[in-house]
Amino acid sequence: MTFERDARTALADGQLRGALRQATTLFGERRRAALATVPDWEGARDRARAIKDETLEHLDRYLEEFAANAERAGACVHWARDAAAACDIIGGIAERRGARTVVKSKSMASEEIHLNAALARRGIEAVETDLGEYIVQLAGETPSHIVVPAIHKTKAQIAALFADKLGIAPSDDVATLAAAARDALRRRFAEADLGISGVNFAVAETGTILILENEGNARMTTSLPHTHVALMGIEKVIPRFADLDVFLQLLPRSGTGQVLTAYQSLITGTKRRAEDEGPEELHIVLLDNGRSRMLASRVTRQALACIRCGACLNACPVYRQIGGHAYGSVYPGPIGAVLSPQLFGLARSAALPYASSLCGACRDVCPVKIDIPALLLHLRAQVVAEGVAVGKGHLRERLAFWIYATVMVRPRLFAWLMRAVRSLRIMPPLGAWTKWRDLRPLAPRSFREQWRAGLGDQRGPDA
């Protein structure tokens, strides 16, 4: 596990921390302002969570309903058990279309299954068209935030990247940089044979998928190429069209602090008449990849209610210090720390549940009230119960907790031991603490000693 090392690297990167501080603070402020426009925010959170709980309770039924209605509207629905199956399905569709270039709008599920690399192995180039994703792709990096992929980059770094990769004159003017990206991307849209998108919500009763975005690139990805492939985790389904109401109040406000995103594309099947917008061929890929395992318990199931707004990342004091890459997973931050071990295996991500001070800021901002600290604790208990090693101090920690458990159930031993530590001035081996912080010594007299020495006999003035 490289979390510790990568976090340390991030902490030493002044530009990264500056960019993170600025962006997460801004998103936090915008979010708070946007919440104020909803008369009953708490009620909206409760309603959304109830809808998600109901859906997850009967997920099989809602997925079948969604698939049936989407197919009735002309879509072709595929079921992918895992990442490899999803990549095969999408790669196969691309090859049948004879695609050389595909354009992609933002999709965390596609990052999860490493779709771009899988397509590249088939000789197909995938071009990211979301500006943030495009920046990250040009830089040869991965997204460090689920909503703001290039949050770790400063404007100056992006200017240098564009000058290098797009051959434009160096400029730190945002409009100039965006125009350069648009110019380059328009050409890629024109030559693309296939468009791949993610999905924000999938409505069971109509077979509709909804995609939210701000740049118009998802609209183009889903309507310009002949074929559109939409990739979605199975937890994206919601029962009714009317349910979108509450989720559209919550998601843009929580994510970017917007009352509504600039574009909302509702796609139901393929285009029916020549003059309509939309693809002639629509494939919807339903991705499991570990999600159905999480359905088993009520505690773990709640992480599937996540609508990927990213508010918990912006609110997390740990994420705000180290950014997303240190988590070593496509899903960073608090929600990533609970999703990654469950989706990709506890042994691979055992450090992540511990990458939190359990402050609870994530739970406070979550629009669907996922109790992330409770999930982190659940996973920590699993790490200990299964004996997964986390870091070097693993055995020392087990020994320390064994001693702790032995002493703390014996009050006289506890009192005697603390007296001994105090009188012999034994310093605990806490280099990890004392390297940066002074260690408060044990008090000259503990409370229990003071109580015995007379404090307990004194009485209050009125007693």
């Binding site: 920590r380 703390m408 603490w433 409370f447």
Partner: protein
């Protein structure tokens, strides 16, 4: 009112002046205070690190100890340990133990919340000369919903001037997080430094909080950085007399 003090192991051994202060304030307000010496640790370090069997054993002990007390309330100078007791029921599958855990949790209060809501007091007759700022300890704030109570108490302290912390603000975590502070010390200290920077910008004589754990973290860094700002427990300030 009869009060049983839930001292917490940290206040007992490292910050006894917080517990002595709590006893003093409670007595001043007419409470009869008991202390059961069998109590040790509430089990939170084990629970938060994933050692559930150890946490469960300690939870059972504390439940039995406080069930044996006829006190009207159990009061603690710690939001974090109070929150732990409020979480005890999650540790048990057995319905009887869950019920017993809930019974003890209902009687267990954090100090500031007890003073304001149970005793209905905001002015405890304290006097403290200086500029103070309040640090919200996460579990008191987010698990127990304690935000105004300590501020109301501190505003009534004669001679004290309460100022809010500048960004990232009073409500942002100090980076302690129990074993987190030694598992990932660099991250913990990066969080802490933002807090300490804000405390220094506030130009205060003391930072006050309701948990010895956060205070250890903050005081440890203040002193390492050579700051003259003191870290005090709420109970120490409330116990100060002219």
């Amino acid at each position: 009112m009869r009060v049983s003090l839930f001292v917490t192991c940290l206040a007992d051994q490292l910050w006894p002046s917080a517990a002595v202060g709590a006893v003093d304030v409670l007595r001043r307000l007419g409470c009869a205070v008991e202390f059961d010496e069998r109590q040790t640790c509430c089990g939170q370090p084990a629970f938060n690190t994933g050692y559930r069997p150890a946490a469960r054993a300690l939870a059972r002990r504390l439940i039995e100890i406080f069930e044996a007390s006829a006190a009207d309330a159990i009061v603690s100078p710690s939001g974090s340990c109070t929150a732990m007791v409020h979480h005890y029921d999650q540790l048990f599958d057995d319905a009887r133990w869950r019920e017993r855990a809930q019974g003890v949790a209902e009687r267990t209060h954090e100090l500031s919340s007890f003073l304001v809501h149970q005793l209905g007091v905001e002015d405890v007759g304290a006097s403290f000369s200086g500029r103070l700022t309040w640090h919200d300890a996460c579990h008191g704030l987010r698990d127990l919903g304690i935000r105004d109570e300590p501020r109301r108490l501190l505003r009534h302290v004669q001679g004290a001037q309460l100022v809010e912390l500048p960004p990232p603000g009073a409500e942002t975590c100090c980076g302690f997080g129990g074993t987190f502070s030694v598992k990932y010390p660099e991250i913990s200290v990066a969080m802490l430094d933002e807090k300490v920077d804000a405390i220094e910008r506030a130009g205060v004589d003391a930072v006050v909080s309701g948990d010895a754990s956060c205070l250890m973290q903050i005081a440890g860094r203040l002193s390492r950085r050579g700051s003259t700002v003191r870290a005090l427990h709420l109970a120490e300030v409330l116990a100060s007399r002219p």
